[in-house]
Every structure is written in C-alpha cells, then in structure tokens.
C-alpha cells in the first residue's frame, strides 16, 4: 500500500533540500493499534484516519552528491536513526559516507512515528527499500537520457550510474537536477536488490551519533533552549485524579529566581495524554523552580483513588485470578471439568513497574501567534501534535514538534502529557517554557506497567506432561487510560505471551479476569510479555523439575513438532502484523532453544549449592528468543550473574551490532525488574520516589557478560528492542531456583526478603 510521488516541484521541505534537489515522498498506509481506538479522545485515532494514506519517508540528493535521508523515528538508543536510513541507502547504492541524516518533525505525512512496539524496522523496511530503489531507478533513467542509451544498459555502482558498454559514468549529484523532472516509476517497475547484493543490510553500521553522544554534544530534550525561555517545575496532585483545593504561594514567591506560580487544570477523564494538573512554579532557572516548589502550601481534593492500597489490591487481584474469568482461547475439551488427579497449581505476581529513563521528563514549548513550536524527547511527535492541539484549541498542523535525542524512553516518552504541560504554560505566560520533571515526579506520576496476578494450573500424566492446562491473568488494562470503564485485558496485550501459548497439549484454557485501574497504566519495554512470560516460563520450569526432566528437553516436548499456530476463531492481533507474513512458527522457537542450549553448553551445566542455571524461551514482537542465565548466590544472599546466553531469531537483521546491544541491555533491564522493580501505593500515593527506593541495576548487579547468538534468517525483519526482556526475567528466576531450591513467584526479589 505504498505510493511514491515526486515532490520537488511542490517545494516540500525547502529547509532540508535546496533548489535543484531531488526529493521523493512516499505515502504509506498506517497501522494503529486497535487499543488506541477505544474511547481515545484524539481524532488522529479515528476509523477514518486509519483508512487514510500518509506520506512517509524522504530522500533528497543535492547536486554536490550529498544524500539526505530523513529519520522519522525517535532515537532513544536503539540506533534507529542509523539502521532505517541504512536500508534506504542500500537500495539507492548510496555511499554511506555521503549520507546525512535529518530528523523528521512530527508530521503525519511520514506515516506512523510512534517509536514503540519494536516495530520501526519491520514496518518501514520495505518502504525504505522502495524509496531507495525508486530514487536509484530515476537517477539511472536520467543518466540514460543524458547518454541517449536505453536505461536497461545502465547500472549503478557506489553513488554513480554506469554505462558499461561505453565506459561512461555519472555521479549521483550530477544527475540530481535531471532526475527531479522525471515521473516517478510505478512500484511494479522497481527492482529491489537480491539479499546477496545488499551492501549494508545485515552488516550494519555504527551509530551516526556516536561521537556526539560521547562528547556531550548531542542535544537531548533536557538540553533544548530558546531565547527568552523560563523554567517550570510542577507540583502534581499526589493521588491520580486529584485536584487542587487551595494554594498558598507566598513563601514560594520569596525564593530568589521565582517569577510566579500558575495553576494547571486537572484532566477531564479519561486521562489519556492530558496534563495531570497541579501548580507550576515559574522561575529563571531549574534550581529556583525546584526550590520554589518546596515552599508551596497546597491542599488537595484527592478523589476516589485515595483509598488505593497496593497491598490490598494484590490480594484482590489474586482472588479474582482464582475465579473463572473471560475465556480468551480454548483448545480441546477445556470447557469440561478440569482433572482432579496430579494437579499442579501456582500463583505468580508482578507489581507495578516504573520506566525511569535516565532523562526525566522534560519539554520546551513556545506558543506564539496561535501556533506552538515544541522541542521534546518524544517517542511520538504526532501524539504531541494531537494533545497540544486539543489542549490549546488549535489545529494539529499548527503544532510543530521537533524531536530531540531521548535520554531513554522505554515507552514512557510515547505519552506526551509533559509536552502538553509546556504548551499550556507557554500559552498562559506568553513566552517559551521549559517544563522539567524531577526524578521524584517521574517515579510518582508514571504510566506504570500493569500490576498482574497469574494463576497457573496443570494436570500431568505419568511423564509429567500436562494433559490439561489452565492459565488466568488479571491486570488493569492500558485501555483504562482511554476509557475508564475498561477492566479486562485488551486483545493486543492479552496476545503478548498469553493468548499465544505455543504448547501442543490436548486441553488448554486461557482466561482473563477484571481489574480496575487506580493509576495511569501504560506501555513499558516488553509490556504484558513481562508478566505473562514470567508466569508461563516459570511454571513450565516448575513442571519440568517436578517431573525430574531437563527443562530444555521438557519445553521442547511441550512445544511439540514444528508447526504454525492456528488462531482460527481466536482474537490474535499478532503485534499488528499480517499473520501470513509473520506467522507464529513453533519451529523457529525450537530453533533458538536448540541454539542456546548448544552455545551455552546447557547439557554439561551442573547446578550446585548457590550456583545454578535457568532457561526460558519466548516469542514477542514477532521475534523468537531463548535465554540461559547463570547465577551465583553467596551465603549472605548476594546474587551475581556471571553469564547470560541468548539466542535470537528476528528474521532479517539490518544492524547486528545494534541487535546485540539491545539484548545486552534487555538483560540488564530484566535484572532490575527481578531484583528490585516494584511500585507500591498507600492512600493512593506512590511510595517510591527516586533511585534510592526504586533501585535499578548497577554495574556490579547486572550480568557480567551477555552472549548474543543471531539466527541467520531470510524471514521478514522483526523486533529487537523489547523481545530480550521476557525470557531473561523467567530464566533468571529459574536459575535462582536451580541455585537455591526456592521458587520466585512474586516479583521482585527485594519484596520476598529472601535474597536481597
């Protein structure tokens, strides 16, 4: 569904491309997760919008031969600003050294820009190739016309068109002006390269931003500045949904550097991406704004969430998980009575988790002449346009969102409430405003990964293999931020490692129960796969041990022979990807399991006191991963992770080095979840505030070494940012059991009091 047009003549993006430049625009059908359609107040999520076509990626070639490629996805550490343009450059036969990357602003003409869901490469791989191939063909036609020879006699080499018969050559830059006058070829006329001819895809490249990131020159949201800007720090209602009752700012206004205070209205439910409301302290610098906040005297109307207590809530979730729920998927005779002999049951629990990207939330915005210009570390600049336009009552097209580097995102920065705050304040103050969240604000006013309770039950035969399987999860859904009545898991998140249990068993019943949200729930790296993968993979390990069978051999037995999972009659969104293109193939899961078993030397590993190896396998974001974790636990309970082995089948891999980095990082992210990841609430107030009480893994706590093995594959590219987390979490817990004989069913370890 791609349509390419020559936009040189309508002088699009004049800033980036000067006269004589050759510019291509691509229109691209956009995928929107169905969840966003549920009660979302943003009109960009409407049905009509879903059906629309949107211009997408751009490549421009200057007469001097410089190739500009627009990066329209956000850079938060996945090297996407390099990897996706690299695909275009490959099909263009461009010299990578002569390519410059230009960061796209928020603009629906690029297509989807929500850098989330591990989908940048897989959703734009073909589009990028077509865009590069189109440009290449037009340059080739321009050269053929100049030489008056058939285009079929011409070919391209690095940055030049060649006519082999006569030995003539023309550089791309010399052809740019001619090519800009040609009609754009039809998609059917494009010849994409054979994989064997790829220059860059599969080999990868270093981040184009490497030096700037190592010298302090990269501009993050925190570093954006505008002439005449003031700084704002906001005291939010301590309880979700609360409101300001009274404000006394007398002492605040005495703080040197403080200019004034400004109230921000509370949101109108559903919260979605609206500002939470509160009182902003406006100052000449960040420090003064922080100091002024300390002196505010505010009384609050906390609202109904004042009674939220996470310890009580945990009990409620568990009780719900023990009652029949909504059936998500049923295999065999699962509707009949569950067997009563040889039954194994277990409860698992994962608490609320915060994102804590290293860069706290921050945004700079200026409202001027009815328009907003924002500089923001956002994963989703079009969502910035949408929320700012609805908050300020201006057109989306009048919101220009520049995307800075993101100091981490992990899903938090796809929700632009903090950017809306800056825009709202700028409109009130008539000057540019930079909103800076303290770490405490970041921890206490997050869109948390859902707290979840999972009940697992199996009846097993004499070999310990399940004859019947029941799993039931209960968690407040993300859809609750868009529609307060939502209490059941939504299909895209149930599909994350729950609906798609890959085991070949005669009877399977997969259920979900209701849970009311009392805080904002949102996506966090790997999302529902975290708690689903944890429960399924730890329970499987429990069954294997109970049967005295090797966990790897046992899991392969449960998965059964290679096959494609059949979801006929089941709602299975498959991460928004076409199921024919990205089927769930158990053979590929078996492949990574066998690979990691071999590479890690699994068969020779011996568990001992305080030393153990754990295994888990999981498909998420269309990628198959199997992981082995080694742990050492000293007598005083100190845990070390000397080694992690992880095998990955992500289809075609554009940038292998970037993939390795993502899986190394995923192991560290998973370490934080298992060891200490826990957000709790009392009286509706979040109990954690900074890295002292919401610790994340440090260098000595993280895996000392993670080995990543990439499966060679010609399957379409899949995700790499998130799929490493879920199997690591489960394998780590399984390793703790192997080392200690103690099961970890409630995360994190720190709340068990056992090990940390």
């Amino acid at each position: 569904m791609t349509q390419i047009e020559n936009v040189s003549r309508r002088k699009f993006l004049q800033g980036a491309f000067g006269a004589g430049a050759f510019v291509l625009a691509v229109r691209h059908a956009r995928f929107i997760p169905s969840i966003l359609a549920q009660g979302a107040p943003l009109d960009w999520q409407s049905e009509a919008d879903r059906a629309a076509f949107h211009p997408n990626l751009f490549v421009g070639i200057q007469p001097d031969g410089t190739v500009y490629i627009i990066a329209h996805r956000s850079e938060m550490g996945t090297v996407i600003r390099t990897s996706l343009p690299l695909v275009l450059a490959d099909e263009l036969d461009a010299d990578w050294k002569r390519v410059k990357i230009d960061q796209g602003i928020g603009d629906k003409r690029y297509g989807d820009q929500n850098t989330d869901g591990s989908q940048s490469v897989r959703r734009f791989f073909t589009t990028m190739r077509e865009c590069g191939a189109t440009a290449r063909l037009m340059l080739l036609q321009a050269a053929a016309a100049r030489w008056n020879v058939p285009a079929a006699e011409c070919s391209t080499e690095l940055h030049v068109v060649v006519h082999k018969a006569s030995g003539r050559r023309l550089a791309y830059g010399d052809l740019a002006a001619d090519a800009s006058h040609l009609p754009v070829p039809k998609k059917e006329d494009l010849q994409l390269k054979k994989p064997a001819d790829w220059r860059y895809i599969g080999k990868g490249a270093k981040s184009v931003d490497l030096e700037n990131l190592c010298t302090g020159k990269a501009v993050f949201g925190m570093d954006a500045r505008m002439e005449g800007m003031v700084y704002a720090s906001i005291e939010h209602p301590p309880v979700f949904g609360g409101k300001v009752k009274t404000v006394d700012d007398q002492e605040t206004l005495k703080v040197a550097g403080v200019r004034q205070t400004v109230s921000i209205d509370p949101f109108k439910p559903p919260a979605a991406f609206q500002p939470l409301g509160g009182v902003a302290v406006i100052a000449d610098n960040t420090w003064a704004a922080f100091q002024g906040r300390k002196k505010l005297k505010i009384t609050w109307d906390n609202g109904p969430n004042e009674t939220y207590d996470s310890a009580e809530y945990k009990k409620e979730l568990r009780e719900t998980s023990h009652k029949p729920g909504k059936v998500i998927r049923s295999v065999g005779d699962s509707d009949k009575t569950f067997p009563t002999e040889n039954v194994v049951e277990a409860d698992y629990y994962v608490p609320l988790l915060a994102h804590t990207p290293m860069e706290p939330l921050v945004a700079l915005a200026e409202f001027k002449d009815g328009k907003v210009t924002a500089w923001a570390p956002t994963q989703n600049p079009q969502a910035v346009q949408a929320i700012v336009s609805s908050q300020l009552g201006i057109a989306k097209e009048d919101v220009v969102c520049h995307v800075t580097f993101l100091g981490g995102g992990f899903g938090r920065k796809s929700k632009p409430d903090y950017v809306a705050e800056a825009a709202v304040l700028s409109k009130k103050l008539g000057r540019p405003v930079k909103v800076v969240w303290k770490r405490e604000d970041d921890v206490q006013f997050d869109y948390y990964n859902a707290v979840a309770a999972m009940y697992m039950k199996a009846a097993v035969d004499e070999k310990g293999k399940p004859t019947a399987w029941l799993q039931r999860s209960v968690f407040p859904p993300i859809s609750s931020i868009f529609d307060v009545t939502q209490v059941y898991g939504d299909p895209p998140h149930l599909a994350q490692g729950w609906t798609d249990l890959p085991y070949d068993l005669p009877s399977i019943r997969i259920e979900n129960g209701p849970a009311q949200a009392h805080v904002r729930i949102g996506w966090l790296r790997s999302v529902a796969n975290i708690y689903h993968g944890f429960a399924v993979q730890c329970f499987t390990d429990e069954l294997a041990h109970r049967a005295h069978r090797d966990p790897v051999e046992y899991q392969l037995d449960l998965i059964g022979p290679p096959r494609t999972l059949d979801f006929t009659g089941v709602t299975y969104p498959n991460y928004g990807a076409d199921y024919k293109t990205y089927p769930w193939e158990t053979g590929r899961l078996r492949g990574v399991i066998e690979s990691v078993a071999e590479k890690s030397g699994w068969a020779k590993k011996k568990n001992g006191k305080g030393h153990g190896f754990g295994f888990a396998a999981h498909r998420s974001f269309l990628t198959y991963v199997a992981t082995v974790v080694e742990v050492e636990i000293s007598d005083d309970g100190t845990i070390r992770i000397p080694r992690v082995d992880t095998a990955v089948d992500a289809g075609i891999v554009v940038n292998p080095e970037a993939l390795r980095a993502q899986f190394e990082g995923a192991a560290v992210f998973g370490t934080s979840i298992v060891r200490t990841g826990e957000i709790t609430a009392k009286n509706g107030i979040i109990q954690q505030s900074n890295f002292n009480d919401y610790p994340v893994a440090r260098i000595h706590e993280a895996p000392a070494h993670t080995n990543v093995y990439i499966t060679e594959s010609s399957a379409p590219p899949a995700g790499v940012g998130e799929p490493g987390v879920p199997p690591f979490v489960a394998a780590f817990c399984n390793a703790i059991f192997a080392a200690t004989g103690k099961r970890v069913r409630d995360l994190p370890l720190s709340s068990n009091g056992n090990f940390d």
């Binding site: 938060m76 302090g216 700084y231 100091g407 995923a666 993280a702």
Partner: protein
C-alpha cells in the same frame, strides 16, 4: 561573589550559593553535556571533575565549588578525544547516551588514579553511575581498552 574556573575559563557567580554546580553549568553557562538524572547523587549522570576528582555536581553547592577548577565533558576531549571517549566509540558503548557523559567523566577519573583497574576496581568506581539502557558490559570493556592510555 563566588569565583571558580570552568573548563579553564575564570567565572564568577553572585547567585544563590546553595545552587548546585549542575544547574550553574547547565542553565547559566549553557554547558549541557553534564546531565540531570536524580538530584541526589544516586545516578552519576551529573559527574564532573573538581580539581581532577570526579564529583556529583547535582549535590555540590556553588559555595563549595568556590576557588576550584571544574572540568565538564565539553572540555575532556577539547584537544582531541580523550582515550576513554575513543574506547567508548570503538566499542559502541552508548545506547541512548544520556548517562554517558557522567560515565565517561567517572571512568576518566578512575583511570587517572588507577591506570589498570581490575574488574572489582571498575565495579567499585562505576557503581554510582546508573545506565538504564544497560551498557555496563561495554563500559567495563571500554575502560579496559582505554587502560594505560590515559595521562
């Protein structure tokens, strides 16, 4: 009036002496390579050198920076990349990169005093610097690569 030297340049400051050095270099001098991460010396993103030693600028009031020589990431490689920066680039250490100014300043300080650190010495010196992306394995390798190359 507080006088200090930042990246070799004489500066004076007559604002709130309690203001942390972090906000002075970021908001007033516009040296934004030094990052804000926690405000409580818990994460190390704000690490700079004070008289050659790595310190957390987010909890260093201007009053205690008086008459000192401060060096930030902007000046570390001012005369060509520092060996630590070169090693960081060679091994593709950064992911998002936000913490890396602090990591690099901390690592440079470590290698100055301990040119060939062991794994334990690296852990000890770097434990105060959080990287949420999880680049620790490469940080350790990069410190070893840079070892012995720093003056």
């Amino acid at each position: 009036m507080i006088k200090l030297k930042v990246n070799g340049i004489d500066r004076s400051f007559d604002g709130d002496p309690d203001m942390p050095l972090l906000w002075y270099v970021r908001d007033i001098l516009a040296l934004t390579g030094t990052k804000f991460g926690c405000g409580m010396a818990l994460c190390g993103a704000c690490t700079v050198h004070k008289n050659g030693q790595a310190i957390r600028s987010c909890v260093t009031p201007m009053s205690s920076a008086a008459n000192s020589e401060i060096r930030t990431i902007e000046d570390l490689g001012a005369n060509g990349l520092h060996p630590v920066q070169k090693a960081w680039m060679e091994l593709n250490v950064p992911q998002c990169g936000y913490c890396q100014s602090g990591q690099i300043m901390q690592a440079a300080s470590l290698l100055k005093g301990t040119p060939h650190p062991t794994d334990n010495e690296i852990d000890e010196a770097m434990a105060g610097n959080i990287c949420r992306c999880g680049t620790y394995q490469r940080i350790r390798q990069a410190i070893k690569l840079a070892a012995g190359k720093t003056a």
